[in-house]
Structure formats: C-alpha cells, structure tokens
C-alpha cells in the first residue's frame, strides 16, 4: 500500500531506519517525511523499504479569527484579490495557499482593528497579479464604487505586486469623480515569516483609507528597506522597479504624495486631489481589448507590427527609445518602421509613443525621425509611463475611435498621469 500524506511511516534504507510523517512531494518517484526533530528528508521510492505505517494524522485546521466592529472608528472596506499578501503557509507541508476568508487578513495585522472598522470584506477573485485581465479591473472598479457610495471612507485592495501599478492606473481612469482614497497594497515577503512586510503596508494603507484627506487611487507600500514608513504613490505615476526589494514601488517623474508612519502620522509631500466625502464616484468601465504594448529595440522586424495591424488592433502603445524614437534609417530597409506605421495610421489605428527610459519625457521635434512619426499622426505621450499610457488608451478607445478625440483625451491630464514640470533631483532620477 502506498503511504499517504499525513501517515506516520518507518522507512529502512540499508542499515538505517527513519521515522516520520509523510509530506507532499513535488516529485512522483520520491517520498518526503518530516522527522521528529523537524527536518524534512526525502528518498527515491525505490531506494527505501517501508517497514511500518500508521494511520493518517488529522489535517491541521487554521484557527478562526473574529473581529469586533468599533463604532468610534472610520468605516472602510477591504477587497482581497490574491497575491503574496493574501497567501498562507501550511507549516506542516510548507505548501502555500490563498487565504480562505478575507478576514484572515487580521492574522497578519491585528492592529487594523484599532485603526478602522471594516464594514465589508470581499474577495471577488483570488489570482496572482500577473494573471489579471481587464475583466478584473472592471470588477474592482464596480466593487470599489459600490463600497464608497454606500458609506465607506476608503477602500483597501490587497493585490499581488507584479502588476499592482497597472491596476492602480486602470482604476485611476475608471473611477470617475473619485474623491476618496482607493489604496492598493501588496507584500514583497511571504507572510509565514516574522519579517513579513505586508503588515506594515496594510496598517499604513488603513490610515490612508480611513483618516487621510487624499481622494485618489494610490499604492501604499514600503518607502525604504527599513520598516519605518510607507509611501503613498499616485496610481498613474508609479512603477515596480525592483524584483524583490520591499521599497520596489517608486514614483516616476514625480514625488511621493505623502509618507505614512506606523503611528498614523501622515506627512504630505506634494499636491493631490482632496477628499470630498459628499461626491459620488461613477465607475466608467468600458475598455478596448484590442490594444497592446510593443517595445522598440535594435533589429526589431516590423512584421511584428503588421501582425497587430492584420489582427485588427485598435491602438498600440510603443515603448520607443528615449525621446520617442523607432528605427527609420536602417541599412536594410526591411527593418524600418516607417511603412508599417504608415499602414497602421491608414487603417485608423492609434499609435502612442511613450519612453522606454521611463524617466523623462518624449519629444518628436529634436530629431528628424521623430518628426516623420509625428507627421504620420503618432501621439507623443509626454512623460506618461508606458503601462499608464496603455491603460489610458484602452480606456479612451472604449469610448471613442475618433483620432482627434482620442488624441485630445490622451494628452489631457485626467488623473495626474502627466507632469509638465519635472523637477531636478540630484539624488536620483
């Protein structure tokens, strides 16, 4: 009989025997057991003999959590969508799974119950953030609007960090007339460990959602490698800039809106849309799905562009080099983008150029190849991040296809996505 997970077995290999509890093994042909000293060890199934086996242990059940609603605290709402911040480790097996109930978030930061009252905790879906689609943004926009319009002072959305900045940008455009805080929060370290960063992010986000005068879609995450404060970052001007660090989210072409500390202190750093609790938010969720981001790079074959044109795409955001350049004077003509861009424009496909440098602004007039593109109707997206431009374009195309209308809207500073005055900063970009 094959031993099952949870069974207590004694295995013999040569002269040595090992007793332990069977743990799930990622490999089919091996068996892993947990010894009484806590160590897990594994064997090839065919290299050991099972000499004793006892009945299965009862699986451990996570303890329940109850939270008290306090009347003296502001009411906020929490929407849980998955990601590291919403995962838990089964200490017996080491397996990671999503939270079963959103309330389990209190395991990670029990202090939350002293900061705000959670009027509603919902979980419309639980996925890794790289798996998000426009459909998810629509659900989140509707859900947030519903909460805010029925009395919540703010919304916290827990989310995987990989694409957190895409979601924050999408909500910035979808949530029309927003004047309460919508805080997106994630974690860079797993919650099984004492050094979990998500607790502080959640605590700071609760202060922003319940107590601040901010009325925008923002990301609230660690401001530095230390557990000292979180930055409140504008949803359209923020990007994940490090694959692993806690302070991965950085403001691009702008500064942080505010710093939030663990004791609730909020230090303001730049202008933002102010809270107005009387305003009603309107979720405008129409999105064009046939849009894409394409990066320009040496030896890029414009056939790739032709693919999108032939497939009927309505809008493309090009991550062009520096000031907004794509190949035009290549030695071999087949690598020049001129003909493909021309063809796209002839078919009324909207082409937007944003800089792949991320920092700084595009400008079509400095070099001649920029002018060629500008004359063909390419829209130069100022200092907008490519990801923000992509979501903005998709949202605008959800409402109109008319070139001048799209261009006017793309260049209209709707949600702080454009900064006309980038300040010099000697400490960084």
């Amino acid at each position: 009989m094959e031993p099952e997970v949870g069974d207590i077995v004694t295995l013999r290999k040569g002269n040595t025997s090992y007793e332990g509890i069977v743990i799930p093994s990622p490999k089919k042909d091996s068996i892993i057991i947990k010894l009484s000293n806590g160590y897990n060890i594994g064997f090839r199934k065919d290299s050991v003999e099972i000499i004793n086996m006892e009945k299965k242990q009862k699986p451990k059940i996570f303890s329940e959590v109850k939270f008290e609603k306090r009347k003296d605290l502001p009411e906020i709402s929490l929407i849980s969508t998955g990601g590291t911040i919403a995962s838990r480790v089964d200490y017996e097996t080491g397996g990671v799974r999503w939270l079963m109930k959103p309330e389990e978030i209190f395991f990670m930061a029990p202090e939350l119950s002293d900061i705000a009252t959670f009027r509603n905790i919902s979980s419309p879906f639980q996925i890794a953030s790289e798996s998000m689609t426009f459909e998810c943004y629509k659900i989140l926009a509707k859900e947030s609007a519903k909460e805010l319009n029925s009395g919540s002072k703010g919304v916290i959305i827990t989310h995987g960090t990989d694409t957190l900045h895409y979601t924050s940008a999408a909500l910035s455009f979808m949530l029309q007339n927003l004047s309460k805080p919508v805080c997106l929060v994630g974690a860079q370290r797993s919650p099984d460990r004492g050094s979990f960063d998500g607790s502080m992010n959640l605590i700071c986000a609760s202060y922003v959602a319940g107590h601040s005068d901010i009325g925008e879609s923002v990301i609230v995450m660690h401001g530095e490698m230390s557990d000292t404060y979180c930055n409140v970052l504008r949803g359209t001007k923020v990007r994940k800039m490090h694959s692993t660090r806690r302070d991965t989210f950085r403001p691009i072409n702008t500064s942080t809106l505010a710093k939030v500390f663990m004791n609730g202190k909020i230090e303001r750093f730049s202008d933002y849309r102010k809270r107005n609790d009387d305003n009603e938010v309107y979720p405008d969720i129409e999105m064009e799905e046939r849009t894409a981001i394409i990066k320009a790079y040496p030896n890029f074959n414009p056939e790739i562009l032709d693919y999108y044109i032939d497939k009927g795409y309505k809008g493309l955001v090009i991550e062009a080099s520096a000031l907004g350049h794509v190949p035009t004077d290549t030695i071999n003509e087949k690598f020049s983008w001129v003909d493909s861009i021309k063809r796209a424009r002839e078919q009324d496909i909207i082409i937007v150029f944003a800089t792949q440098c991320l920092f700084g602004r595009v400008d079509p007039f400095v070099y001649s190849n920029g002018r060629i593109m500008e004359e063909m109707g390419v829209i130069y997206a100022e200092d907008m991040l490519p990801e923000t431009a992509y979501l903005k374009l998709s949202w605008i195309l959800g409402h109109t296809n008319e070139y001048f209308e799209v261009k006017r809207n793309m260049l209209d500073n709707m949600s702080g996505e454009i900064n006309y005055r980038i300040k010099g900063d000697k400490n960084g970009l």
Binding site: K13, I32, Y39, G42, S63, R88, G194, S195, M262
Partner: protein, 623 residues
C-alpha cells in the same frame, strides 16, 4: 563521584564555522568586519499567526510593542542578508565539506536534502528564520571509553552578531549572518566529564582535519547537555574552553545533586501546596534605609516588595555550586527582569539592611520559624513579575530539577538564562528545491578523505623531525601553513612554533586572530634575513593593533642597512667606552642587550654580536 551510580548523561552540540569562499545562501565573502558599517536598516519582527495558536488580539498587540532591530551592513553584504532577495542555491563548497565531515563521522548521508526554515524571533536573522538542512544521521566516533553516537550532522547559516542592546532596540551586524556552520549533535551517551572533553577534542580534530574550517575565537561554539537520573536536562551554552569541559560537567552534576537534596529537605518540611503567593509592599519599612540599592530604587519612585516562602528557612543560603547558593539562583531569575537582584532572609541583616528592618518585615509578613522571605526593589509591575517567577521556581524546588538553558561561567559554574526552548517550528524553505548529493561525488570524497589526526601527527614527526607534542600542536593549529612555510622558506620549526605561540597570546589577550597570509609574509621576511626572529613579536603586535602588514614589514626592511647597523653600534660603543675598558671582554653581554633594544628585532642577533665583538676587540687592542 560515581557517575554511573548517578546516571550521568552528557551530549555535545558543536557549531563550527566553515572557511568557504562564499556564504551558504549568497555570494558574499565569509569575513567579519571591525570597521564602521556602510549603513544601517531598521526592522520590526512580528510573530506569525500559528505560533500563538488562537489569535488573542490583545496579546499580539502587546507583542507588537516589542523591539526595534537595527542591522549594520557593509560592502561585503548583499540583498540576501538584508532579507530583500531570495536565497541563492546552497554553496557547493559547503555541501562538500558537510559530506566530508559526515563521512569522517561514519554518518549516513540523506538521499534527498531539504533546506528548512527554523523560526527565530530574537532578531538575529533578518528573515526571522534560520535556514538549516540535515545532511546525515546515525554516525559515531570512538573514544578511549567507548563509542559516542552522532545523531545528526546539519549545515546551517550563522546568525547576525549582536553588537548592542537596550530596552527598546537591538543592534546586529550582518557580517556573520549566512556564514556556513556545520552542526554536530552527539547522542547523550557520554558518561563522565573526561569523556565529554575527549569527545569534544576528537570532534574538533575531525573538523580541523578537513582543513576547511575557520579558526580563532568564536568560530567554534559548543553546548553541553547534562543530566543525572534524578535531575533535569540542562543545556550549557557558551562552553569555549576544551580544558574546562570536565569542570563544567562536574559543577553541573554538583548543582543537580544539591537541588535533589533541597527537594528532599523541602518535602520533609511540607509540600508545594503550602506555598501561597502574596506580594506585600514593604516600602515604608525602608524609607530611611542605609541599603544603597533599596534607597536608590525608592528615590526613582520604585517600591520595595516582599513575598513569604513557607518552609524555606536556610534553603536560600544553601550552596549549590562552589560560591553559588540557591538564593543566587533565584537572583538570576530576578535579573532577567532587569532588577539588580534580591535579598533573602538567610543573608540578612547585611548589605546596609538592619536587624530592625528585618524584624519589621518578619512581623509584617508573619514569618514563622521555618519560613523565609525575599525582597526586591524597583517598579511595581516589574517587581511583581519577578517575584512571581521566584515563587514559581520555589514551587518547582519541591518537585524537580527544572530543565533549562544556562550560561557557562568562566569559573566552571553556570547561571540561569531561560527555560529550555520548545521545539522550534520548522517548515520547508520554498525558495530552494530539495537536492540530492551525487553518489559519484560521495564516492570521490570518500576515496579522498583527509588523513586522521594521528596519521598526520605521525607523518609530521617522520617527515619534519618534530617532537610528538610539537607535531600535535602544529597539526591541531596550522598544518597547511606549516607545510607551505617549511617547503618554501628557510624557517626552523622552533621559530614557527614561537610565532604560533605569540599569535595565540594575542588572540587570548587582544581577541585578535592572525591570519595565515600575514604569518606567511612575516616568515618570508624572516627567512630572507630582513627581519630577525626577535622582531616577530613586534610585527605581530603592530598588525594586531590594526596596522597594515605590508607597511609594518617595509618599516622593518628600510633601516636594515649593514652600514647603518655598524654606525649605530659604533655610537653605542663610543658612549660606553669607559665601561668597556673597565669590564674588558665581559662588557659584551650588557652591551648586546643595549643593541638589541636599539634595533628592536630589526637586525639579527648573531650579526649584532659579531660586529660588537669586533668593535670591542678594536677598543681593547688600541688601549
């Protein structure tokens, strides 16, 4: 003592740092730093849910008010030690050493090895867990008194170094975090103090035989597990000196025997149920006390609190280790709360406390003939917690010798540190897949195992004509360097041993460990005659004070010009001309001393002697 009769059981746990090129889970070098850190980061750690079982929000909040941890980091650290990047795969070099040590200990290598996370919440790991893996099990070593089993051999990462701490903050240095450690745990089958020392010595020799372990202070840490049949299990931490091991074991046995006797005496008098926990404030009695400790506590708005211990008359004054009484033991518990200690009836009146004050306390607490009391002074809540712990410890005195962790003291005694930790929670390090050690590699390591200690000693006796004790010394301390020096330089083994002695002294006195590279450079200069053997001490001393070896050496080389030497000697001779004329040939010895002092080891003694002789002869002849 009849240890067999007592049922003595001793086990050893040894942690040895490995001298690998990189750390166990990242590519940083394994070096400790003494200079100022590049920068610091500040972190808070929190217990994770299932650690506290039921989620008691109040309790958790209390915990959250805990400490802030500051971590100093250097250019020899990376994001992994800062807990800002996942671990890299296990160092191959460390794996190989782990296997080599396992094979030398006759242990069976685990087929599929899984790196585990062991929860650590004292701040010594930035991640709040220590990564560790079991490499092998079920080995043994032979001692003169029979085999000692090896339960496990693990490979794990060393923790960060604690630099300072106060009530709210702990500061750690990240240089040590991640240095590979081999952890060897023996079974509890060591049956007497001498065997414990022998086993520790043999394990040390085996580790050194690999030639891949770090040397010097703090690179090997030993814990002793000691119990007797009627006693309890005690883990002694910080056992650094091998020669002291038997004494630590003996003193622990002594302590447990004394505690068993106390238990018997107490049970004759009554039972733990007679003890009633009641804290009584006695501050008013001490308002005009001449006890400095109590007076200063009251001045700082603290109070004086006492508790009665029924049937404890004389017990607190009983010796349990040489110079340590049961009262001292209770004071150790009180000190863990930050109080300076306690006073008990068996030592009073004393320390500025008068018999009048004692009598007033007796009256207030209604102390009967066989009762005792203890007094502590300080803030009320702290005193209460401390007295409660004293009370619990006294209750246990009726029942058992408590299992606990103790700190080994320099004099062979030990003091209470904390209860034996429960089994740490361990779960898999999900960022590193389980791995197997290639059987071909194991075979290869097996065929090329290093010589045993005795084999190597015999080889050194034969090959280099060393005496047995010299060979043992060199093989234990520095065999690779010795072979390198002897084969490439003109250095006698006596000079090598002298340098070894000097560097050992510096290690003992200054805590400075001279590295092989420095010693080799020094021997090179001695070999070429640039530095006299008399100069070795001076060079090592200056290097230990932080001077660069190259600069020190060039300093020595610069004024070693034989014309200069002759000139300097001539100067001395002229100054002492009268003395020479008076003493004749016998003047050479005191003058030699003067010259040696002048050159401070920069010039070879035989050269000075030769020149000096010539000059003295000249003067004597010319007169």
């Amino acid at each position: 003592m009849d240890y067999k009769e007592l049922g003595l059981k001793v086990g050893l746990e040894i942690h040895q740092q490995l001298n690998t090129k990189r750390k166990l889970f990242c590519d940083c070098p394994t070096i400790l730093r003494t200079d100022d850190p590049l920068d610091t980061i500040e972190r808070r750690l929190r217990p994770t849910p299932s650690e506290i079982g039921e989620v008691d929000v109040a309790a958790l909040k209390e915990y959250m008010r805990g400490k802030t941890y500051i971590y100093q980091y250097y250019d020899t650290n990376c994001l992994v030690e800062l807990d800002e990047e996942p671990p890299h795969l296990v160092s191959e070099e460390a794996k190989i050493i782990g296997v080599e040590v396992s094979l030398l200990l006759n242990s069976n290598i685990i087929e599929e090895i899984q790196v585990m996370r062991k929860t650590v919440l004292d701040g010594s790991n930035t991640s709040a867990f220590q990564r560790t893996m079991l490499i092998s099990t079920d080995g043994y070593i032979e001692t003169k008194q029979g085999p000692v089993s090896i339960l496990t051999v693990c490979l794990e990462e060393d923790a960060a170094r604690l630099i300072s701490q106060d009530d709210t903050t702990k500061t750690f240095r990240l240089d040590r975090l991640g240095i590979p450690l081999v952890e060897i745990a023996t079974g509890p089958d060591i049956s007497n103090p001498e065997q414990a020392k022998e086993a520790a010595y043999i394990l040390g020799q085996i580790l050194r035989a690999t030639g891949k372990v770090k040397r010097g202070l703090g690179t090997i840490r030993q814990d002793l597990n000691v119990s007797i049949r009627e006693g309890g299990r005690v883990e002694l931490k910080g056992v650094q000196k091998l020669d002291m091991i038997p004494l630590w074991v003996e003193r622990e046995v002594e302590r447990q025997i004394a505690l068993v006797e106390i238990k018997k005496e107490l049970n004759k008098r009554g039972s733990e149920k007679d003890l009633e926990f009641k804290i009584i404030e006695v501050t008013d009695i001490f308002n005009n006390t001449s006890s400095k400790i109590i007076a200063s506590s009251i001045k700082k708005n603290g109070g004086v609190y006492a508790t009665k211990l029924k049937n404890f008359k004389g017990i607190l004054g009983k010796d349990i280790q040489k110079g340590r009484r049961f009262g001292t033991e209770l004071a150790d518990h009180v000190k863990t709360y930050g109080l300076s200690g306690l006073f008990h009836i068996d030592e009073l009146p004393n320390y500025g406390i008068t018999s009048d004050e004692v009598n007033k306390v007796r009256a207030k607490l209604k102390i009967a003939e066989l009762d005792s009391f203890v007094i502590v002074a300080g803030k009320e809540d702290i005193c209460k917690k401390a007295l409660e712990e004293v009370f619990e410890r006294c209750k246990k005195a009726f029942l058992e010798v408590p299992n606990e962790t103790r700190d080994a003291l320099e004099d062979g005694n030990s003091k209470y540190s904390r209860p034996l930790p429960g089994r740490a929670r361990m779960y898999p390090e999900t960022d590193i897949p389980p791995f197997t050690i290639d059987s071909e590699l194991i075979r290869n390591i097996k065929e090329n195992l290093p010589e045993t200690f005795d084999e190597k000693v015999n080889k050194f006796i034969d090959k280099y004509g060393l005496k047995k004790d010299e060979a043992e010394r060199i093989v234990y301390e520095s065999p690779e360097l010795f072979e390198k020096v002897i084969s490439s330089l003109d250095i006698k083994s006596t000079i090598f041993i002298k340098a070894l002695d000097l560097s050992k002294n510096l290690e003992r006195e200054e805590g400075y460990v001279t590295d092989d590279q420095t010693l080799y450079l020094l021997f090179e200069k001695v070999s070429k005659g640039i530095i006299a053997k008399e100069g070795i001490e001076e060079v090592l001393k200056r290097v230990s004070k932080g001077e660069d070896i190259e600069i020190v050496l060039s300093d020595f080389s610069s004024d070693n010009n034989s014309a200069d030497v002759e000139f300097a000697i001539e100067k001395i001779i002229l100054e002492k001309k009268d003395f020479i004329l008076e003493k004749g040939d016998r003047a050479i010895s005191p003058l030699m001393g003067l010259c040696m002092k002048e050159f401070r080891g920069k010039v070879d003694g035989s050269l000075i002697n030769k020149i000096l002789k010539e000059k003295i002869d000249e003067i004597l002849k010319s007169s």
